[in-house]
Amino acid sequence: MSKRLTAWGATLVGLLLMLATNALADDAKPAPTVTDVATAIDTVWVLVTAFLVFFMQAGFACVEAGFTRAKNVCNILAKNFIDFCVSSLMFFLIGYAIMFGDGNDYLGWTGFGLSEAKNPSGVPLYAYWLFQAVFAGTAATIVSGAMAERTRFIAYLLYTFVISAIIYPVIGHWTWGGGWLSTMGFADFAGSTVVHATGGWIALVGALMLGPRIGKYGPDGKPKAITGHNIPLASVGVMILWFGWFGFNPGSTLGAVGSNTEAIGLIAINTNLAAAAGGLFATIAVWMIYGKPDVSMLFNGVLAGLVAITAPCAYVSPSAAIVIGAIGGVLVVLGVMLLDKLHIDDPVGAVPVHCLNGIWGTLAVGIWGQKALGLANDGLLHGGGLGQLGVQALGVIACGAYAVISMAIIFSIIKAIVGLRVTPEEELRGLDIDEHGMEGYADFQIFTTR
């Protein structure tokens, strides 16, 4: 008898479980399964974090506008907008196919216009696309800051097509699209190299090819300050970027269920601590070197910490994140000094922030990374030896070399066709009037003496 009872009991348990899940779904709709719900939450996570990453566009726009002069403010804003518009469209038509399509180790080649596109994620294709598209947009927009106040609008527009359609997706394919770097175990969790160093290298090439702004280096070669015109605007931008980075890093898990539940917490705390340490240590560094806490360096330090933690965010402990961020903060101060020594004029510090710290963050994976947190090998300080660090260095060099060479060619072509730089008269008068026929602050009395 007891056998029977037990059997019935088991059945009952099963049925009750099924019924329970049906409770609310009284209207014909099939009850959601646990998997449905898990996919839903993963999708919500990916979308919400994608929205946050999108919002970083506003952050970049504010920082770049705030750190440059009032007479060029419409121009820099226009560039920040149009690059996201163009890169959204190009990443839809071409970029995604190259990044994630079937192909070889170096390049994908299926899924143009997202038709029959591959979807390596556990969330719907379109949601995944959006997340990737906002990353592509970030890589594109980094460049405008270093090339600010002297680049022709049309030249920038053309550049934007190329980076989002080809340059960025290729590097993305290598690392995240199943290409050769990923096969080698190269780890860049959320894009210190793929997004930031790529953008940063291109920024460097661009700044070099353009040359410095008029008046940036005196006849004696000494760098002169060309101060930003709206520090509150820049500060809002930095805050928005920090906020958006909570999408950038934690969202890169592409899901929130299962082991990702722990992971997103870790990544979020790491992101925050690295940013905080970056800000604090950059402030201390600039204070010690120059005697006063330069607010613009505090801002750059926060961003440096954020860029640096982007690659290792999932693989390191919070204490390691603090160290990585703190070093990033000091690096950015030294990087700004170095660029000025080299007479490379980068108005907003895009190169020290994104290139230098993108590299630093990628290498940090090989130092503090932990196998227990999903990395291929333990990092240097966790007894894994130099293996991972070597792969990381290789990835840094390969991506850097590719970005620099390809964009040097592209910029040369653009220069030949439409010209990269505005005329000295336009530069002196401001790009707003000459390129856009308008002013940023029509009611204000603005100095254009510099």
């Binding site: 300050a225 120059y290 000094m337």
Partner: protein
């Protein structure tokens, strides 16, 4: 009729205005300027690059007065603006050949008041 142009420290403006009111001089025009004088400015660094600030923020007053008000105006400005520290500024007195109050059409000295 004279036009007094005075360059003073911004934070002294309220005291100067007060002193002028007490001297019954109510009419004036005020502008923001930047200037250099004996106070040579300062240098700072912005993102590590030298920033020579040799034009300091000052305030410029223009006061059109009739001849008998020149000295009271000068005294009032001096009283309100002097701190004894470098950067207190200077004032110039310029001749005015004609004055006109636009609303009333009054010409000459009556237009000044």
């Amino acid at each position: 009729m004279k036009l007094i142009i005075a360059y003073i420290k911004p934070e002294r403006l309220n005291d100067v205005k007060q002193a002028l009111y007490e001297a019954q001089i109510y009419n004036m025009s005020v502008t923001n300027i930047v200037g250099s004088g004996r106070q040579r400015g300062y240098s700072e660094t912005y993102r590590g690059a030298a920033m020579e600030v040799n034009l300091l923020k000052k305030v410029r007053l223009e006061i059109g007065v009739n001849d008998n008000f020149v000295q009271p105006a000068i005294d009032a400005i001096t009283k309100g603006a002097r701190t004894g520290q470098i950067g207190d500024g200077v004032l110039f007195v310029l001749p005015v050949e004609q004055a006109l109050r636009i609303r009333t059409g009054e010409l000459g000295p009556p237009a000044m008041g």
